[in-house]
């Protein structure tokens, strides 16, 4: 009976499961994963980049083909050297998200250079914001690579979804639906701007 009691007593007092508790700096892969999560969890960044992806997908179905090289260069540049330029406040990102959401709603037939340039500008802002106040070389390389992958995925996923649905379904309502979603990015950005400007915050 005593053994049974001890056995039962052991069951409810386990320690915390550590199988998936990534220790900061434990290994490169953990850092890479943490880096991917950073842009997804920084909501002003996520909103801006999702809005950018929608904007690009609405602009042209094959937009990401043209934007991938731009995206890689811009992310390498801003994550590598961004610490040497002044930081970006929350407000700048959400204002940019509002602007890019507005462009997504309007679906203007912009010239290629303008559309890709706007996408690059959004990535520059987001990349600089992601670096926060860190000094040059302070963030480990796997973490930086993860951040670049996370930021790129935030643009590529919505753009890819827009492209896939436009090509496979083809109905004009699909594009209007994505434009409506773009307006939701703008709506969320308007509220975020109010929160950022709220007295006492």
């Amino acid at each position: 009976m005593r053994r049974l009691a001890l056995g039962l007593a052991l069951i409810p007092v386990p320690g915390l499961a550590q199988a998936h508790a990534f220790q900061t700096g434990a290994d490169s892969y953990a850092l890479f994963l943490q880096g991917i999560g950073a842009p997804w969890l920084m909501l002003p960044v996520a909103l801006l980049l999702i809005g950018t992806g929608l904007f690009l997908g609405i602009w042209r179905t094959e937009a990401m083909l043209a934007f991938w090289p731009v995206q890689i260069v811009v992310l390498a540049l801003v994550l590598g050297l961004g610490v040497f330029v002044p930081g970006v406040p929350d407000l700048a990102l959400v204002v940019a998200a509002l602007a890019i959401g507005g462009l997504g709603i309007l679906a203007l037939p912009l010239p290629r250079a303008a559309a890709l340039g706007l996408g690059a500008l959004a990535l520059l802002l987001a990349g600089r914001y992601l670096l926060e106040d860190h000094a040059f070389g302070e963030l480990p390389l796997p973490f930086m690579v993860g951040m670049a992958a996370g930021a790129a995925s935030l643009v590529a996923l919505p753009a890819g979804l827009v492209q896939a649905t436009r090509e496979r379904i083809g109905h004009p309502a699909v594009l209007i639906g994505w434009r409506a979603l773009s307006s939701w990015v703008g709506a969320a950005a308007i509220l975020m701007i109010a929160f950022a400007l709220r007295p006492g915050v």
Binding site: M1, R2, L4, A5, L8, A9, I11, P12, V13, L41, L43, P44, L47, D90, I105, P172, A173, I176, G177, R179, A180, L181, S183, W184, G186, A187, A188, I190, L191, M192, I193, A194, F195, L197, R198, P199, V201
Partner: protein, 195 residues
Amino acid sequence: MRFPGLSLALTVLLVSTLPALAHTGEGLTGGFLSGVTHPLFGPDHVVAMIAVGLWGAILGAPALWVLPLVFPLVMAFGGALGVLGIPVPSVEIGIAASGLVLGLLVALWVRAPIWIAAVIVGVFAIFHGHAHGTELPDAANPFAYAIGFVLATGALHMVGIALGALHKVPKGDYAIRAAGVVIALAGGAYLTGLA
């Protein structure tokens, strides 16, 4: 004691419990959930937002998509006014009137020009947004709150649009008109203080 082992195990169970932290409302998840639930817990808001979707479905394309596009955007603007403490007159009357007017527009199958529909919906959206803005809880993460709030609002419009698809089935128009009557009655009840 007849069951010492069982007693010991139960005692250990009791002392080894941890506080439940699932709904503390903190962080990204808490802020997001708070934003999602806020528009859903006000029946006067819910009926108006569904009415917008229904009316869009009655008007057909492009209003079907334009109205749900206008409403969250203008509502966010109204919400921003509320967050910043900028007053808007007669907000509660405006919200109640929105249910009555939009319900009647649906019940009477009014096919207004797109720009008139957008203006009507936009004006009411400011009242709804302002009310939400001034009643905002101190969400742990206001940015997550904003995203949840807009998604829930848009989802309610989608419910209205989905219900509006009933007009494609036989006698579905009657169901839509009946929904309009219910919404108008609810709006009238809010307006006269009966609800």
